[in-house]
């Protein structure tokens, strides 16, 4: 297992390098220029050229990349061109919020998806299966920002059961942290729960039809034990793949959800940064997001080894 993890981590290095090239290159391909954005109504061609020189934007792109990458490796993403704050400070402040929402959404998705998919598979063709299928179809059809608006209004404003906006960090209060994450996590996780439920249902039905399950039943094992111990572990393999993908979706989806719940995550910031061509901030966000996604995918890959011994052997 340790070798698998080490191999995956080493394999991630060139991927991070490629992502850094993309992050740097794409920002430079965007129309307009950062200097024009900063100068606003003062953006005469002379002033733009002067600011370009000051920001180093007039240097060869390879030199710009090298300077940026060597600093970024040391955790220095530079200063925001718009707010003059250290990008690293912004990332440190805001990524924990986004990751909290994304993790909350993943927990919701897993809980509801796995339970729902399992129930649907075990009660195939019955009313509960059909109800769950209907709910999963609805979950897939309704966008998470709309769910967020409804949850914030109904449970946050009308009922006052949960906070409609705001965020409290876990270092301030664990209970408040969870309390503030419940609605955003639900909004973010329900769509993914539907995906996972469908995958779980299909995977479990497939496994339950395998000869070794029939053999286990024939040996007289209790049905519940057969399902939980023997069937579900194998049914999880395709679900894990989906979870890996959904984890990336969560980080993207958090961008919208955190705006609706007024949470100071990276999403709100990155939208503004892209629009205002705040290159250091966009590049920092893309890099950190990419590293997080790569790390999560590495964990998913490693988890295959737990669920499927053949992966370990190969």
């Amino acid at each position: 297992m340790a070798r698998t993890l080490a191999f995956r981590l080493v394999a991630a290095v060139p991927l991070v390098f490629l992502v850094s090239l993309l992050a740097f290159g794409l920002v430079h391909l965007m129309p307009g220029s950062a200097s024009e954005t900063i100068l606003g109504d003062a953006a005469t061609p002379e002033a733009v050229a002067e600011l370009d020189a000051e920001l180093g934007l007039d240097r060869p792109i390879i030199e710009q990349y090298w300077n940026w990458a060597t600093d970024a490796v040391q955790g220095d993403f530079g200063r925001s061109l718009i707010t003059s704050r250290d990008v690293s400070d912004t990332l440190v402040e805001r990524f924990p919020v986004t990751i909290s929402i994304a993790m909350g959404g993943l927990v919701v998705a897993l809980m509801i998806g796995v339970v729902g998919g399992t129930v649907a598979a075990l009660r195939q063709g019955r009313l509960s299966d059909r109800v769950i299928s209907l709910l999963t179809a609805s979950g897939l059809a309704v966008p998470n920002f709309w769910v967020a608006v409804l949850l914030a209004f109904y449970f946050g404003v009308e009922r006052d059961w949960f906070p409609a906006i705001g965020y409290v960090g876990p270092t301030e209060s664990i209970t408040q942290w969870i309390y503030h994450l419940i609605l955003p996590s639900l909004a973010l996780g329900l769509g993914s729960a539907a995906v996972i439920a469908r995958q779980m249902r299909g995977g479990l039905l497939d496994v339950l039809d395998r000869p070794y399950i029939r053999a286990a039943r024939a040996k007289g094992l209790r049905y519940r034990r057969v399902v939980v111990v023997h069937a579900m572990k194998n049914a999880f393999i395709p679900v894990i793949t989906v979870v890996g993908f959904q984890a990336s979706v969560m980080i993207g989806g958090a961008v919208l959800v955190e705006q609706i719940f007024g949470m100071p995550g990276i999403g709100v910031q990155v939208v503004g940064a892209v629009l205002s061509q705040d290159m250091p901030l966009v590049q920092g966000v893309v890099m950190v997001s990419a590293v997080i996604v790569i790390f999560m995918n590495t964990l998913i890959d490693v988890s295959y080894a737990y669920f499927d011994p053949r992966v370990r052997l190969s």
Binding site: G32, E36, T37, L39, G40, D41, A42, A43, T44, P45, A47, R79, I82, T83, S84, R85, D89, T90, E93, R94, M111, V115, V149, A152, F153, G156, V157, D160, W161, F162, P163, A164, I165, G166, Y167, V168, E172, S173, T175, Q176, I178, Y179, H180, I182, R224, V228, Q259, I260, F261, G262, P264, V268, Q269, G272, L275, S276, Q277
Partner: protein, 547 residues
């Protein structure tokens, strides 16, 4: 069995967390302090009487009532105010800002030599007296003032700030162009040597260009707000992209401007999030959109409205360099006749704005009584276009954010006259950049001038961003020069009115409507005092805790 146990355990944890969270005692830090505050007038004199209103500051716009008045005078600052705002200043270097809404924040941290009030009238700030002539402006500075870090404020600081503002590119530098040099007479007296008459000098000193910042703070710390660099009533306690926390400055010279001990501005870009924050009690004041007004009032939250900036169509290319047809006054007038101001107001502001044919309201010295401009008249527009021999006119405007709805409305109205106006999405602020770079023929924009002299400098003067081809229009420059040479305020105002009327008649400036600022508030905390002529503007200096 194990799965069920875990599920039940998680449910119990979630319920426990929810139960703890709903306890008001444990409420999140965004929940406001709603303790009612007893009030009594124990404030000191604000020195407001020792300015010299007989100077050129006497031509200030006539004060109009603020949208709401303070509910009571407190014994001192108390309580907290949480304000949900749609956007925050990008930089705390006030000289680099040109968007009026930034005044909400800057005027809490900084002072100008002159300070602006909610009705746009002026009062002494860091200067207590002044004398202004066409050749010099002499200011007597307030004594004993220090910056938030203890650095003394004196004439050298004024010189440093004005010289900094003068070389700041864009609007700030342009507004300071008439100050030739700054001379320090003594620590409490400073003289600006002027290149000529500058009727709006005081107004400009009360806005971004005149904000006095601490020269000992590094440019990076100044811009980021990492160090509180003002003399103003509040000190920056913390600032990041989503929250600005200000705490009262205990050494401030005018305690009347400090209603609250602490101010928290939370940036919520989503309209629904701001509304939810107000209604759920997590903000005391929230900037709202017109479509939320009825809901807020139904929920028991009063809504303050104030006339904000005028919206108008400006022909940047009056010389026809980019769009040759725009050089013909008949084409511009035809476009002006195609604008249905009532329909615009109904569609965009749900009738809460004010359709307008001029950019200074009744009561302003630059309002032209009886002027009707170019009323909505598609038939007359068709005649004018036919006279000009123009058909199938097409042009493009860059647009973003709030400009999108305005440009869409204008595009639909112009289509009625056979004119095609294409809208191109650009990043925020890029529209101004493109105007400055001679890439835009005309666009809808926001009138930010509170003085007719500033109006000339911003929109009509040959060396200006909004007249990017530097077209000199003699019939506008003539009255402007007459205004500068006028020997009395009345004569000057008459000349300014003539200048503006010419700009209207040439359909160079085509006023459309005055959009409203709409702010919901919790009356148990404080009444909102809105800032006239500033979209989204809240005048916090006049706000006090509810009694």
């Amino acid at each position: 069995m194990r799965v069920r146990k875990w599920f039940v355990l998680f449910l119990l944890l979630a319920l426990f967390a929810a139960a703890c969270g709903s306890d008001d005692d444990n409420a999140a830090d965004v929940i406001s302090d709603r303790d009612p505050v007893s009030t009594a007038n124990g404030s000191t004199d604000n020195d407001g009487s020792d300015g010299d209103p007989s100077s050129d500051g006497g031509d200030d716009p006539t004060p109009t009532p603020t949208s709401s008045s303070p509910s009571a005078a407190p014994t001192g600052p108390s309580g907290e105010l949480h304000y949900a705002v749609p956007l925050a200043p990008a930089s705390f270097d006030a000289h680099s800002e040109n968007r009026d809404f930034g005044m909400i924040f800057y005027t809490l941290v900084y002072d100008g030599l002159v300070n602006e009030q909610a009705d746009n009238s002026l009062e002494p700030g860091l200067a207590t007296e002044w004398e202004i002539s066409p050749t010099e402006a002499r200011f007597t500075l307030r004594e004993g003032v220090t910056f938030h870090d203890g650095t003394p404020f004196d004439a050298e600081v004024v010189k440093w700030n004005i010289e900094k503002a003068k070389v700041t590119p864009g609007t700030t530098g342009a507004l300071m162009r008439n100050i030739d040099s700054v001379e320090v007479v003594s620590p409490t007296e400073v003289v600006f040597n002027m290149t000529g008459p500058d009727p709006d000098l005081l107004n400009n000193l009360a806005r971004f260009p005149g904000m006095m910042m601490n020269p000992n703070v590094s440019p990076e710390d100044l811009a980021s707000g990492a160090v509180s660099a003002g003399t103003g009533p509040y000190v920056i306690a913390s600032r990041n992209e989503s929250e600005l926390v200000l705490e009262v400055n205990p050494n401030y010279f005018d305690p009347d401007d400090q209603g609250f001990e602490k101010l928290t501005f939370t940036t919520l870009t989503d309209d629904e999030a701001r509304y939810n924050a107000l209604v759920s009690g997590e903000a005391d004041i929230a900037t709202m959109r017109v479509f939320q007004l009825a809901d807020a009032e139904a929920a028991g939250f009063p809504v303050a409205q104030a006339p904000a900036n005028f919206t108008f169509l400006h022909f940047h290319d009056i010389g026809g360099n980019l769009i040759p047809e725009f050089a013909d006054v008949r084409v511009r007038q035809a476009i002006a006749h195609l604008i249905n101001r009532e329909g615009w107001n109904a569609a965009i502001a749900r009738g809460l704005g004010n359709p307008a044919v001029q950019v200074f309201d009744q009561g302003s010295p630059w309002h032209i009584d009886g002027y009707e401009g170019f009323p909505y008249d598609p038939e007359r527009a068709a005649e004018l276009l036919a006279e000009a021999g123009v058909s199938n006119l097409t042009f493009e405007v860059p647009s973003w954010g709030i400009f999108n709805a305005w440009h869409q409305a204008l595009s639909a109205m112009l289509a009625e006259g056979g004119i095609t106006m294409n809208i191109r999405d650009v990043p925020p602020g890029q529209n101004v950049t493109e105007v400055a770079q001679q890439q835009v023929g005309a666009s809808v924009t926001i009138w930010s001038s509170v003085h007719a002299d500033t109006a000339f400098g911003n929109w009509l003067s040959p060396p200006t961003i909004w007249n990017p081809w530097d077209v000199p229009v003699a019939s506008v420059i003539g009255p402007y020069q007459a205004a500068l040479a006028a020997e009395s305020i009345d004569e000057q105002n008459a000349a300014f009115r003539a200048m503006l009327q010419e700009a209207y008649d040439l359909a160079w400036i085509v006023p459309i409507y005055r959009n409203p600022t709409i702010t919901g508030y919790d009356p148990e905390v404080a009444e909102a005092v809105l800032w006239d002529n500033i979209t989204l503007g809240l005048y916090v200096r006049d706000m006090v805790p509810a009694s």
